[in-house]
Symmetry: D2
Subunit: 345 residues, 4 copies
Amino acid sequence: MFFASDNSGPVHGQVLDLLTQANQGFAMAYGADDLMDEVRARLRDLFEAPEAAVYLVATGTAANSLALATLSQPWQTVFCTRVAHIHEDECNAPEFYSGGAKLTLVGDGDRMTPADLRSAIEAEETRGVHGPQRGPVSITQVTERGTIYSLDQLNAVTKIAQDHGLPVHMDGARFANALVALGCSPAEMTWKAGVDAVSFGGTKNGCMGVEAVIFFDPKHAWEFELRRKRGAHLFSKHRFLSAQMAAYLKDDLWLTCAQAANAKCARLVDGLRTAGAEFLHESQANMVFAALPRSTHERLFAAGAQYHLWGANLEGDNSEEMLTARFVCDWSISETDIDRFLRLL
Amino acid sequence: MFFASDNSGPVHGQVLDLLTQANQGFAMAYGADDLMDEVRARLRDLFEAPEAAVYLVATGTAANSLALATLSQPWQTVFCTRVAHIHEDECNAPEFYSGGAKLTLVGDGDRMTPADLRSAIEAEETRGVHGPQRGPVSITQVTERGTIYSLDQLNAVTKIAQDHGLPVHMDGARFANALVALGCSPAEMTWKAGVDAVSFGGTKNGCMGVEAVIFFDPKHAWEFELRRKRGAHLFSKHRFLSAQMAAYLKDDLWLTCAQAANAKCARLVDGLRTAGAEFLHESQANMVFAALPRSTHERLFAAGAQYHLWGANLEGDNSEEMLTARFVCDWSISETDIDRFLRLL
Amino acid sequence: MFFASDNSGPVHGQVLDLLTQANQGFAMAYGADDLMDEVRARLRDLFEAPEAAVYLVATGTAANSLALATLSQPWQTVFCTRVAHIHEDECNAPEFYSGGAKLTLVGDGDRMTPADLRSAIEAEETRGVHGPQRGPVSITQVTERGTIYSLDQLNAVTKIAQDHGLPVHMDGARFANALVALGCSPAEMTWKAGVDAVSFGGTKNGCMGVEAVIFFDPKHAWEFELRRKRGAHLFSKHRFLSAQMAAYLKDDLWLTCAQAANAKCARLVDGLRTAGAEFLHESQANMVFAALPRSTHERLFAAGAQYHLWGANLEGDNSEEMLTARFVCDWSISETDIDRFLRLL
Amino acid sequence: MFFASDNSGPVHGQVLDLLTQANQGFAMAYGADDLMDEVRARLRDLFEAPEAAVYLVATGTAANSLALATLSQPWQTVFCTRVAHIHEDECNAPEFYSGGAKLTLVGDGDRMTPADLRSAIEAEETRGVHGPQRGPVSITQVTERGTIYSLDQLNAVTKIAQDHGLPVHMDGARFANALVALGCSPAEMTWKAGVDAVSFGGTKNGCMGVEAVIFFDPKHAWEFELRRKRGAHLFSKHRFLSAQMAAYLKDDLWLTCAQAANAKCARLVDGLRTAGAEFLHESQANMVFAALPRSTHERLFAAGAQYHLWGANLEGDNSEEMLTARFVCDWSISETDIDRFLRLL
């Protein structure tokens, strides 16, 4: 009954198998391995972007920070929501990698609206050289609240960025979960929707530790390579990153895992709804924020369920007070576990 | 016949086995996994340092840069040799992580002497607030030229650092290769010899991508954790770093691999000597710099040998001109391969 | 009729006189001049802080950024209001000098309330190593909206900072204007109210370009000196900074100028009120935000008045629409000018 | 008898006069003052560079660091001599402003030779993404040892930079002293000789604290403005920087002062030679490094002479040991003082 995060699950067997297969003899270091050629070709194909620059790193924070640093200047500000991972969960890594850029928080919700973004952009840079300059817009898909930008919402937001000449980055730590929910193509959810660079996550969805960074305009390639090396994120035994990503992409494993995770979350949501939980956001992928009475949480924790209360804690007298919790379903969680949890509920 | 580097070989089977075993169900993320507790305990034990702060990262550059950043201030200068990896091969990562510290190059050789170091230290900071301030001393053991500081040499150098109140970092990307060559204990080669922090390498010696950073004074612990996270080097599925290191340390695998690599290099050196090669440095671990005639290199490359010429290239008319090359023996290279190479020679 | 800013006026004659007097022969460079000794002693005396570390720089942004960098770590966040100069008007200088710290915007108003600050502090660092860590609180006195924290308000806010162990910085670009308005002592408005470091402005109040940075705890002294030099803000011919500040402090010139500026602003406010202006904030020092009809602004600009519309512009059809403008009174503006402006009104 | 530095002398009367004249009423802030228009036009004219981007800052370190940051990337290395001010005397400001670039020390002398530079450039970046990338070349004219690159020497060095596609910066803290010594035009000593950006010093030659930064290619203009503001080097009351530079350029004051300083130094050198001093470098501008017996130094210091021993100190028994000292002649030093010093000698 582990719903604490999708960053704690096991590696999919096919990933481990390919990693094991890749462990034969010597291989060129630093990304010159043959498997990386495969990965690059496969991602370009998947994204219908034959010129795209494609790189691998081992953490989502590295993917986001290096991508944003490449798209920005130190005197700029990056536009993101106030719940963005780059703002709340990366210990100032974007500020570090960008050389001191600022983050401007857009709107109050889980997703930014076009109006929010326009308003935030227009509030900056009315002071010439004095204020922070406008920099990239970073969109999280799936958002940190388990919701998804529809293609229309996405296009509406990137339109505002384009109107102001600003590049768009997508934090796709849960890219696959969003894609299968929307039922669209990777190109439709990225460059066709105005996205310039994407952090394409593998770690949370069956890999060990690998994220691709994709720039649809290859002019960023060499700068990114230098930033990755300078950031100490270039692996010598790079084939073991390549192998993870190659297995992840092979036979649509990435989509299969995401579908599994989303389906399990839907099962969980159904059960929570039946049990009278109140939902903070519509659960559109593999994560749900639900409020349950304090006493219920106490019972669940006592029975061994693992998840995080969200802005709340168990201390307090009112056993019926509703406390919000975040539940995340990893691809690997079993239906048995979910059902056991729901029975407890 | 792969002598290009020890960063290109396979992962040792025992490492892969433990990694596979670790792939069961959910595990606490971000270093809170049980295997990390084992690793920490084992390294503290090995180093006879029960209070040491112990962390894992995935690349040697990350280990070095984060360790040095923790030991220094942005207005300081780090003392290292001119062939140090931190100077030549990290694309300014130490400067980046330290926030703009300088590197002062000490001496002209593969190792710094106490006299070199004293002279370099005393040349800095005679200008009060104007010049760079004196910062940590970074020693590479095994050096980038395949040589090793004896314990006496090490103590003599760290004595100079201590005399000036400067902390000492050891870049131990090939820590195990040095240790087995010296036949001393980890403590003797580090804190007993005046070393404050060590990058303890696994990647080049049988692992996939893991390095420990050890501070003998735990006061650096929390700052290092923040720097690691901010640098995007904190792994969510950390157990797979832990598993590598746990397997590496188990049953002295790390020593076994290093002994193998050193022994193979010795075999290679013997053969090279017999073949009339000239040596630039005494080969003390798993690396040798040897000069051979251009025509010999041509023959070897044609036969499929892989290694790097060093400050030389094949272009040129004189087939008897001696060109230096670097040969590195990984733990995994077979004696058959070495012997085949020597027969070609 | 210049109300655009207090950064555009002339230098007071007494400042220029002392600067001229100081221009005799050779003087020790880099802050070792005799006048600096006087300035240091005088400021320590004024602030009843005999141990304080006292430095001079030439711009307010330098004073703020260097002070905050000294009080913070790169992985922290600085708490300030959303209208703070450090956030809106320094082109990411605080982020640059701090090595990539974040700014957390507190509340929505011109001043932060204790509740705002507590809420902002408690929202940060609930995520251990993942989120930004809590750093210094920066308070602007006079605020960027022309209002002033009363001593009670100040103490209430710094109390929250102290409760969380956070240092407090005061951006006192208009320190003198606030002090004369409150009628308290420098110590009461700073260290007795829980302020650890202050940017003590001279430039906007009769000087040419000089700000003091004062740390009440001298432990920050040497780090600040290194940061100032590394930031290229250490003047060789430092006596000309010292002379400005010495003249500014002599015979209470700083207070005289501030009283003049505040009094002129009060006269302006009275006139604006009579003319039917609407005020956005209570004008407590030398600055006022007032809304007037579009047609009035057109008439005033046409007659040569200089000031900034605030979040508004002259384009539009409705001549009676109220547009807000910022009016700032410098110590040097003449009553004649103000009265001429008011007659135009 | 003040020969300690040319950063400690008074401001020329004409500079102070224009500064005083400029102190009338309100003036546009932040470089939009009329005097800056004059300065820009005058410098473009002097340098025969009608498109040049021209800016003012208050310190030489700011001029150098901001210019180099604009010409470089954080993963590059800047080529300079080991006695360069940017290396020895700026407390890592170039590293700070560039975001962590490295400095590669070229040659061993006071000036770099083309061979030194080629060798240093070719030693870098043979490692692809791993090593620091080649960045700008920074030349100091007058050098820190009082010598001057002839136009031929200058052209030969910049030719090497151009061959490798590297921009060239000139640290001209003593630009005027070099120019009058060479008897060439500003254009000949800069862009006609392959220099892309120059720090054009005023502070050491009669000003209070002002340096121009000139980019011959205006494409750098906006980036420089943002870097200057972010570095806290944009003055609000900018007219007082403009006034200094305007006075400095008016009626060739800058050349007059430099000629005076050089002539006085020549007088000093003659006297030192007569007295048996040994010279370390040919004195070509306003600075000389001369060795005198310990006993002579003791006598001179006792009589009130002020200058710096260079890598030597008075402690020691041998009164006849030759100790090197640096003597700098400021434009303002009187011949009487020099003669008094020479008599003492």
